[in-house]
């Protein structure tokens, strides 16, 4: 019932033309866009008035008893029920009321270079920030300082007499350092290294001829060879009988490669060897 009432009120029965308290004629329901049909006899949707009040809404009607006008008390103007004062009445505008956002617009013509500059700066700083984020993240995967501090080992060479081996530990592996005598150097250099299993000249394996620095891990299965042993006066692996010569090259037995040479350098000032 209530829905029916509401629809009834909404559909019709506003006075089509009235006068506002400010004295301005007000016709909110008049459809000014509707035109009279081109052919007055034609049927169509566009009539002169499409909002004629329906019969159930009251108004004058011709009955058998004569012309009767009926008005329902529930009919009332549905919009402006209360009195409006001049100061509060809305201004009637010709154009539809659209909010104005022109203050929001950056002038694209005069500020074109500036706008591009701003967009470009945003790109520059974002790219810079992204680059440092990525590089910092990658750096976090690098070895930490305590690992790096142990990654280098210093050896005082002045304590190693000629013709002696020294074994030190570096990154958990033994490193052989041999102070070679002159005859050993000549022996290592005179051999016909091109015929060896892993051909490598003695000059390629040492930085200074009297100092031989190698990783003490047999290239066969990782045992630690014994110094000053074997058929060639170098190293001998007790596990499977590989023989290395005085330059650490594999000469006999199952070892496929020469003993590995780590990265090292000499510091001239205080006769020190830095491995790593």
């Amino acid at each position: 019932m209530a829905t029916f009432q509401a629809v009834k009120k909404a559909v019709a029965l506003n006075p089509t033309v009235r006068t506002l308290p400010s004295g301005i004629p007000f016709a909110p329901l008049l459809n000014a866009a509707v035109r009279a049909p081109h052919d007055p006899h034609a049927h169509g949707e566009s009539g002169p008035r499409s909002d004629v009040a329906p019969r159930w809404a009251g108004g004058p009607s011709l009955r058998s008893s004569g012309l009767v006008t009926k008005t329902y008390t529930s009919v009332s103007p549905s919009v402006n029920v209360q009195q409006r004062f001049i100061s509060t009445s809305a201004v009637r505008k010709d154009a539809p009321d659209v909010p104005d956002f022109s203050h929001y617009r950056t002038n694209p013509e005069s500020n074109r270079a500036l706008s591009y500059f701003m967009v470009g700066s945003l790109g520059v700083i974002s790219a810079s920030a992204a680059k440092s984020s990525v590089s910092e993240f990658l750096q976090s995967m690098a070895a930490s300082a305590d690992v790096l501090a142990l990654a280098k080992v210093e050896v005082d060479l002045s304590t190693i007499p000629e013709g002696k081996n020294v074994i030190i530990k570096w990154r958990g592996k033994p490193v052989f350092i041999r102070h070679r005598t002159q005859s050993e150097i000549e022996e290592a250099r005179s051999s016909d290294w091109k015929t060896f299993r892993d051909p490598q000249s003695d000059e390629d394996r040492v930085k200074k001829p009297e100092w031989l620095v190698m990783l003490g891990v047999c290239t066969h299965l990782g045992c630690v060879p014994i110094g000053e042993a074997g058929d060639y006066g170098g190293w001998f692996c007790p596990c499977h009988g590989s023989h290395y010569d005085i330059s650490g090259r594999a000469r006999k037995g199952p070892a496929p490669l020469n003993l590995e040479v780590p990265q090292y350098e000499f510091s001239e000032v205080d006769e020190k060897l830095v491995i790593g």
Partner: protein, 331 residues
Amino acid sequence: MLSRLSAGAFKKAASAGASRSAVNGARSASVRFASTQASGSAALESVLNSRAALATATAVSVGTIAWYTHLYGNLPFLGEAHASHLSDEGLHPQAYPWSHKGVLDTFDHASIRRGYQVYREVCAACHSLDRIAWRNLVGVSHTADEARAMAEEVEYSDGPGSDGEMFQRPGKLADYMPAPYPNEEAARAGNAGAYPPDLSLIIKARHGGADYVFSLLTGYQDPPAGVEIREGMNYNPYFPGGAISMARVLFDGLVEYDDGTPATTSQMAKDVVTFLSWASEPEHDERKKYGIKAVIIFSVLTALSLYVKRFKWGPIKNRKISYNPPADKTH
């Protein structure tokens, strides 16, 4: 045409019509009031006003309080009476103007160097510093040569050697600071049962941080009247409980600084606290520099994004869509 009426006007007319028709009576069979109309919000309202909702809310509240009381042993939001005294919490330390206090301030590295000297000559007799290695001092308070020389004065056991035995060797930069006691039991035995804490993170590990440690070091005094301190304990108002096993160790002129700074008690306390602050946060200087960079970069980025957002949205917000009804050409 209907669309010209606002939704509010529509609703007003509907409810006005409904109540009016109720007065009228002749036109509506049943009487309905606006407040009893069956709509979504009204249904929610009736659920909220129901007795079941009231009972549920009461049960939840009582249950929550009961659970809290069960967990923590006292009622929430109510103060508890404690049989303790404020002095049990320790005196609140004053805020001191540390040279590294500001958001842009680095440590005073000369002070770190002096503080290391104080630590080495005084504190290291009982307290370890086992998270700091000799190499950490390099580039902070000592040169590499100085740090290496200091490390070599200490013997470290290493090995096993080729004969399978552990051996002693002089320290290297990669070694950590030597501890005064081999383990906690030895430390307790040497200090009448009290364990001198490791100082590596002590500034972070205590309420009040640097201010607390400084106040503690300089705050030793005679116990006030009525306070009993056991034999072997010392009175310090900043220490929670007031009685501390550690005796006052810093006295004027105890160490001799190599840069000629007068070694007063407060000077030494300030230096050693600066050193310990550095030990707790070795990344401190770098961190503040990154902070400056991040704040600048992100504020500029924010400003630029606001501009670019406005730039991109300007045309969209200014777009106007209008409909012009077609004019009838025959008139």
